[in-house]
Symmetry: C2
Subunit: 334 residues, 2 copies
């Protein structure tokens, strides 16, 4: 069984628990983004074809699930989280000049960067407006903060582009803001809309944050190891585009000074094409000096911390949430 | 006295009434956007050098001014409005590939499109987060809606690019969402934070909306007539970039069918360079068939409606607001 299959099955197991609510989520999401202008509809239909894994909505709905079911407010909140997530993907693809997304042409490539920019703005603002309308004050508070953090992270990535002196602390600060903070909000919002868990919502937030770290670190490892889910996407994209991630930072910390110096000297002032040519050396260096191993270890630690955070409060369906979703993000590494 | 001077003096007269509060506004605005990342600071300093006319903050603070002064909450709200306005300028400059803004290099030109995109996202999200933190619920509600409308307008502009069959109704719908809705919110928020005017805030919103129409229509007329404030910027930018605005729509409606047909045939499928070459014909057509006159008439009607809206509720400083700000936007046409 391929990695793709194994991973999908894990997620399906999670999603089976909340099947009807996920269907309702799809409806609510469609209704919210539909009908404003013809081009908005057209792009929404396109994005929908790309089939989101609905990882964040799944976590939110599982956190919100109580004995009486899942409240409609949680479904609305899940739709807003997914809109914000989609907005960041559109803007990310713009920044990275990505040609494809989820096996389809990216919006920036197909409709042009201006349209991708405006569509992202639309989804961001629509999500926040929807939270205001639905009077989901806590969700609004958390997601307003999160969108600030995410844009700060984008700016920090621009600031540290090509910067080989970036520390693990800076890297972790960036991925917290870029990825972990939204998953943190997602889980905290879900639990906050769960009458049985309302007072323990912060712990669900902590759980989500840790899961978010695992998620981003594994993504960054895939850029070194390759990953079948990426449909033949070559490794080294992060390196080429100047994103210095954990495996390389850890290898630089771990290597003898002379070898690190040699790598840095070779990488100095490279033009785009030369960066590509230099990639095999970077990859060899990272593997040799345990960069991927270190990143994998850190991902496991975050996974353990996620489990520890939620163990004292988990019960019933949240036990499944705990067991399966930590495994889901970690298993991507095996 | 030049048009620039006359216009500045009008605005100064308005701003003198709220001098200390505008100073406080500058401080609050600076504090809010400062300190997050070095690049954010750098860009904020650059944008600040470009000296905003602070038209929206001025309207908000004037609307909020009561016998006891202006509440701090209104100053915070004004800062948030200015952040949102600045965010739209950054994204607009990217879409229009503008080289300059307020006499300085545009952010997209100087730092690149990705940075302009992220900086816009940052200012948008920061403004909404700030409104949440300050618990300015009404302002948040209005501005969340307004940001949706503004992104819809951007999308509608992309949809109707080069479309010579656009109607006056469609044009008005776009400029309401793009320009008037933010000025509407601005005035309604200000009056809503004024204990003496709270119950008449909607009327101030209507006033702001009408002013917004005048503002955008005069801007679109300048693209035909030329305008010294634009520092030698040539006319015909809107035409070249495919924005079909009121003067041309009105002229097409007004011209004999054969002449309109001839213009449309000549304009069919033009490449960018050919659009530029065709501009003198477009301009001559618009002047001949009263497009600018019609646009000017409509601006005056909106100006009158603004006055009518606010006359029954104006008192004290709001009388100045009424007299000066309608004149301010209309005088730009003389």
């Amino acid at each position: 069984m391929s990695l793709v299959d194994r991973e999908r099955i894990k997620l399906w197991a999670l999603q089976k628990i909340i099947g009807p609510e996920l269907e309702r989520f799809d409806q609510v999401y469609d209704d919210l983004v539909r009908g404003d202008t013809p081009l908005i509809n057209e792009i929404c239909n396109h994005v929908k074809k790309g089939k989101s894994k609905r990882f964040r909505p799944t976590l939110l709905l599982l956190s919100a699930k109580h004995d009486g079911g899942i409240d409609e407010s949680a479904i609305t909140a899940a739709a807003c989280v997914e809109m914000i997530h989609t907005a960041t993907l559109l803007h990310d693809d713009f920044i990275d000049e990505a040609l494809t997304r989820r096996g389809l042409p990216s919006v920036t490539h197909h409709w042009g960067p201006s349209t991708a920019l405006v569509m992202g703005d639309y989804l961001y603002s629509k999500a926040l407006d929807c939270l205001v309308q639905a009077e989901l004050h806590d969700a609004l508070r958390m997601l307003a903060r999160t969108t600030v953090l995410m844009s700060q992270a984008e700016m920090m990535q621009i600031e540290t582009k090509y910067d080989l002196s970036i520390s693990i602390e800076q890297y972790l600060k960036i991925i917290y803001r870029k990825t972990a903070s939204l998953i943190e909000s997602t889980c905290e919002i879900g639990a906050g809309l769960n009458p049985e868990l309302k007072d323990r919502a912060k712990i669900f937030g902590e759980f989500g944050s840790k899961i978010g770290f695992v998620f981003q670190i594994t993504d960054d490892i895939f850029d070194y190891l390759g990953d079948e889910r990426r449909l033949g996407k070559p490794t080294g994209q992060d390196w080429e585009e100047g994103r210095i991630t954990l495996p390389l930072i850890a290898a630089l910390n771990n290597a003898p000074e002379s070898e690190a110096r040699a790598l840095l000297d070779g990488a100095k002032d490279l033009e785009t094409e030369d960066r590509k040519a230099y990639w095999p050396e970077v990859k060899t260096f990272v593997m040799k000096h345990g960069g991927v191993d270190k990143a994998r270890d850190m991902a496991r630690v975050y996974g353990d911390e996620a489990k520890q955070a939620i163990t004292p409060v988990a019960r019933g369906v949240q036990k499944d949430l705990l067991a399966v979703s930590v495994e889901y993000v970690l298993k991507r590494l095996n």
